[in-house]
């Protein structure tokens, strides 16, 4: 057998073997790799390379080394899933760097981090003032996670005391011009309804690139033809405006009428309408 053929066969075999071994090691992402994972990955890489070129001059030895370096990490992963103590040793524990807004210097030292490192990590999270940080942790993967002080946290509807409507995930019903029946039936809709909705906004189904339906059945479309301007669904806003107008009308009639009974009736309906508007506002406007 010519030498190049041996190389070809060995390289292919090692390639497939490594691929297989790495696959059974699981799918931890490189972004959340610990230092140990990195070492394992490098060693496996080096072993695979030396196996391919037969650098060690001993194929069986290289093969065994490769097996050991995949089997042992695998065993340790399984153990670390089962036992927390193993997990702490192998994957490392998180280190609290800032607590109650104060930087813990000894912990910083323990994590081998300079104050500059800490500041640069915080800057990456758009934090320029240490005073804004209530709590910061160095994750085993080397990333710093932060919790801002209450006053610096982003404004949420809850903090504003606003009630928001419950909204479920919008379903994607057309992709690349193809109607997704499964998504439609999940919402209790069908093709017939879809065609009707598209007709309402005046577009052909085959011109639709993406169409999504929100929880109340409003359709948002993106067309292949980007020149065409598709009207955005405004039913919700419109409904809210109309309800408010009706409420105002009731008040107006209550003021205008001279009939006592009618006045009372209009006042009552105006109250009901106020309730309706208030209750629906989270659903329709937010």
């Amino acid at each position: 057998m010519p030498e190049w053929l041996i190389f070809l066969a060995r390289a292919t075999a090692v390639f497939l073997l490594t691929l297989f071994l790495v696959r059974i090691m699981g799918k931890r992402q490189t972004s959340q790799m610990t230092f140990f994972d990195l070492i394992t990955a490098i060693v496996i890489g080096v072993l695979a390379a030396s196996f391919t070129l037969n650098l060690a001059g001993n194929m069986t030895g290289t093969f065994i080394a490769l097996l050991v370096w995949t089997a042992l990490p695998l065993a340790i992963y399984f153990l670390s899933i089962k036992f927390k103590s193993v997990r702490d040793v192998v994957q490392g524990k998180e280190t609290i760097l800032i607590n109650h807004g104060r930087v813990l210097e000894d912990k910083l030292m323990e994590a081998r981090m300079t104050p500059e490192d800490l500041l640069s990590q915080l800057r990456r999270k758009n934090i320029y003032k240490v005073a804004d940080v209530e709590f910061a942790v160095l994750e085993p993967s080397g990333e710093v996670s932060t919790m801002l002080t209450k006053a610096q946290q982003p404004l949420t509807p809850k903090a504003m005391g606003l009630q928001v409507g419950q909204e479920s995930v919008p379903q994607t019903v057309i992709l690349d011009g193809v109607i997704m029946d499964e998504a439609l039936t999940a919402m209790g809709l069908n093709r017939h309804w879809m065609h009707e909705e598209l007709e309402k906004i005046g577009v052909a189904p085959e011109n639709v690139f993406i169409a999504q339906v929100d929880s109340v059945g409003q359709v948002y479309v993106d067309l292949f033809d980007d020149v065409v301007n598709v009207p955005k669904p405004k039913t919700k806003e419109l409904l809210h405006a109309i309800l408010r107008k009706c409420q105002a009308d009731c008040e107006l009639y209550a003021l205008a009428t001279k009939n006592e009974k009618a006045k009372q009736m209009y006042t009552e309906t105006s109250k009901t309408m106020t309730q309706v508007v208030a209750e629906l506002e989270p659903l329709l406007k937010r």
Binding site: Q166, E167, S215, C246, T257, A262, T272, V276, E279
Partner: protein, 68 residues
């Protein structure tokens, strides 16, 4: 515009909103949101009833504006 035609207009808007609410409630999957929609649709029903009653009184008072 006479009073009765104004009231009729409001009534039409109310009925339209009611219908929209009903469509929303049919499609909505979230139980809580669905309940809110149905509850408020019922409220609109009450209001519509009252308006219709008032409208018949108005038509009785001003028979020349009967109908649409």
């Amino acid at each position: 515009m006479t009073v009765s035609s104004q009231v009729k207009q409001t009534l039409a808007s109310l009925k339209g909103s009611r219908a929209t609410l009903e469509t929303f409630a049919t499609v909505e999957e979230n139980e809580e949101a669905k309940e809110t929609l149905i509850r408020n649709r019922k409220r609109l029903d009450q209001v519509i009833d009252k308006f219709e009653q008032r409208l018949s009184e108005l038509e009785f008072e001003e028979p020349e504006y009967k109908g649409f």
